[in-house]
Symmetry: C2
Subunit: 164 residues, 2 copies
Amino acid sequence: MTSQEQTAATITTPSDREIHIEREFDAPRDRVFAAFTDPALIPEWWGPRSTTTEVVEMDVRTGGDWRFIAHNSDGTQTGFRGTYREITPPERIVQTFEWDGMPGYVSVETAVLEDLGNDRTKVTTTAIFHTAEERDGMLASGMEGGMNETYARLDELLERLLAD
Amino acid sequence: MTSQEQTAATITTPSDREIHIEREFDAPRDRVFAAFTDPALIPEWWGPRSTTTEVVEMDVRTGGDWRFIAHNSDGTQTGFRGTYREITPPERIVQTFEWDGMPGYVSVETAVLEDLGNDRTKVTTTAIFHTAEERDGMLASGMEGGMNETYARLDELLERLLAD
């Protein structure tokens, strides 16, 4: 598989309240799972390159809360938070997602990690919103560009971890 | 209007993800709004009679969080929490609702307070869930009985406040 194919995420909208994303990574599943669940690794990849993500809280268990603050290069900051609904290593993470800018607008993200063999992993994320308007707001927020940049950073982190 | 009519709440399900409740109260709208938003008044009516509700946090503004703990007579306790999405006195409150027993399952409750004249107020609450299963779980939880008891307690509080 070429590098071009590897870095392309597929975004679809299976219903008017959902966003479905598929992306393959060139690393074994347990490494990808660790990148999603280890507080020490989140700042290495989470968010666009222009931000530095601080893990304020990350209690990775059912009912545990998480809270990240993304520090922008201009000194401003943006907060995100949620609750872990399910943590099933190394294959499934379900969590809520809320942005400080729209408090009380809560989506649920289900990430499924599939072992493709040959030390490759497919991550399928489905986000569900309470209304079509909230889903459309997320799509219009520039999430696709941010996500592709975030996943490219995750590629780089996984490559660094495998080189160790 | 007889006392019997006054205490009957109407519950309908306008879609497979919603619960719609209408209830009239024999008190002016600003008093009903105060009962919903004053932390000192919540323990006077919120929850079934068998519980004592403690207001742990109640930051009544857009983006503010709330958290209540219901202490049962047998010494056990149950927590609830959420975030205020909109506070528009005296007519509209939008908040999220989450029960500690099912962390990450978040519904959104919109309460609209309508001035019926003659110092009477109609409260219409619409709860929306991410899935039909979550909505059905709430309906099966015994919420209707608990809600009617809670609203009867609110009737009594409003009567006490008007007598002062």
